[in-house]
């Protein structure tokens, strides 16, 4: 299967939606809130479409882009009712409906010979359900964004060393360096390494909460989403 798109990551550029975000703002959602929301959900939606409808990279990107464009046009965000479901669930169900319609339309065209579907290889047809993939990607994207917030915060507040230690230990795959090795590398006591790590994790947790607060409808939904992130 061809590799995933790099779009959606913090250093990647989110595709600009064709409809002005001001329209969504006019529907009751502030521009920056909408941007944060798309930053968090673009990649999970893309991955969900890829695996649920077995699309190749380009088709999945186009469908994801179409979904968000359509959502903005139809004041999708303004219609969300927090009493019925979490926004994450609402969005995932809407993606499914949208992509299923598009998929069916493409199928009709295919019978006319216009569209080619990429076969899905064995690896991508893993046992994990598309719903589970959506939630896992949502969680991953949430942490990616929170880590970027932490990086920016460290750079702005002269705490680059704290971030470097966090990066070298917590963001490294196994085997991780020992605290002693990190202390020697940075010329600081071992206790400072553990203190820096504790500080960075604490800040990371705060940034995760902040990101979630920006895309949830209230305290109750925020608590539920926090529970899903940490348990």
């Amino acid at each position: 299967m061809d590799p995933d798109t790099a779009i959606g990551g913090p250093h990647g550029h989110l595709p600009s939606t064709q409809v002005s975000l001001l329209e969504a703002a006019a529907a009751g959602m502030p521009h920056d809130a909408l941007e944060r929301l798309i930053a968090l959900y673009w990649k999970p939606v893309y991955r969900f479409i890829r695996f649920r409808f077995r699309k190749d990279n380009e088709d999945a990107k186009d469908l994801t882009q179409s979904f968000f464009t359509s959502a903005l046009e139809r004041e999708f965000f303004a219609r969300f009712d927090p009493a019925k479901a979490s926004f994450r669930t609402y969005l995932r169900m809407a993606v499914e409906r949208f992509a299923a319609n598009q998929h069916a339309a493409a199928g009709r065209q295919k019978r006319g010979g216009d569209v080619q579907f990429e076969p899905l290889d064995e690896h991508s047809a893993a046992a994990e359900s598309p719903d589970a993939i959506f939630e896992r990607e949502w969680r991953r994207q949430l942490f990616v964004l929170a880590i970027e917030d932490l990086r920016a915060h460290c750079a702005a507040s002269g705490k680059e060393q704290q971030f470097r230690i966090f990066e070298a230990y917590d963001l490294a795959g196994a085997p991780r360096p020992s605290y002693a090795a990190l202390a020697a590398e940075h010329g600081i006591p071992e206790t400072s390494v553990t203190n820096h790590l504790a500080w960075a994790r604490r800040m990371l947790r705060g940034f995760v909460a902040e990101r979630l607060r920006g895309v949830t409808s209230g305290e109750r939904e925020l608590r539920e989403e926090m529970r899903r992130v940490w348990t």
Partner: protein
């Protein structure tokens, strides 16, 4: 940035661990996890004793204050509440050594013992209701039986708790009558397969869909259980004659034996006189 699954899991685990370095506690291990927070076994360095430390989001700080108000032998006492550097709140409480009610039942305790646990749990509820606190999520997993037979009702709820299917009353919002529903479900849960119909009727009355049809308070439910244990008719059940006779016989067994013996002696004397 690309986060692998293993790095993501590591981050979630490490960032979730509470930073207790500024407190008197040392974490030992996680012992429980639920919607309301995570519970750790910990050591209180100052008093050199083990405690349970429950850590939850700041929004739930009200729970700690609410529970700290409750003082009852069947409610776990809170030693201290505090706030972690990341804003989460915690409370330190007695570390109960025991088993959950659902596990306790696997030891096949007697009916009297099962009812004792229900009565202790009910007494804790009745007390809490007098202070305006409701549990909201009473279920076997939230009742602990200690190694000396003590009974504790754990995890007192706050607004966020939605209850557990099978134990949650149908009405919204939950109130005192909803706790009565859950206590009825708990009674039904602890009854053995051949449990007495009178007790099943008590459980059924507590679980009626309309809160107005249930017992008016926990005390009334407990009184009905007590009546059963004393061999009296329970309010919840229109008892058939056959059951009433059997219950009367069981309750007055000594008197009936004496009467039978008296009748027997009189009969023997009657025959002896007529020989």
């Amino acid at each position: 940035m690309d986060l692998s699954d293993s790095v993501l899991d590591h981050l979630r685990h490490m960032a979730a661990l509470p930073d207790v370095s500024g407190t008197r506690y040392e974490l030992e291990r996680e012992i429980g996890r639920g919607g309301m927070g995570v519970v750790y076994a910990a050591r209180d360095r100052d008093l050199d004793r083990r405690v349970a430390l429950k850590v939850m989001e700041a929004e739930l700080a009200g729970e700690a204050r609410l529970i700290a108000r409750l003082e009852h032998p069947s409610i776990v006492p809170i030693h201290e509440t505090g706030r972690l550097p990341d804003g989460r709140v915690f409370y330190a409480m007695k570390l109960v050594v025991g088993v959950r009610l659902d596990h306790y039942l696997a030891r096949s305790p007697s009916l009297a013992e099962r009812l004792r646990v229900i009565r202790r749990a009910g007494e804790a509820l009745a007390y809490a209701h007098t202070t305006g606190v409701i549990h909201r999520d009473l279920k076997p997993q939230n009742v602990m039986v200690g190694e000396f037979g003590e009974v504790y009702v754990m995890d007192w709820g706050v607004e966020a708790v939605a209850g557990t299917p099978g134990f949650r009353a149908p009405e919204t919002p939950l109130d005192r009558r909803s706790d009565i529903y859950a206590l009825g479900a708990l009674l039904e849960f602890v009854l053995p397969a051949d449990g007495p119909p009178a007790l099943r009727a008590v459980a059924a009355k507590a679980r009626r869909p309309d809160p107005a049809d249930r017992y008016p308070d926990v005390g009334a439910l407990l009184a009905d259980i007590e009546r059963f244990q004393e061999g009296l008719a329970v309010e919840a059940w229109a008892e058939p004659w056959r059951h009433r006779l059997v219950r009367f016989a069981a309750r007055n067994a000594v008197l009936l034996w004496l009467l039978a013996a008296y009748a027997g002696v009189k009969l023997v004397l009657f025959f002896l006189r007529n020989l």
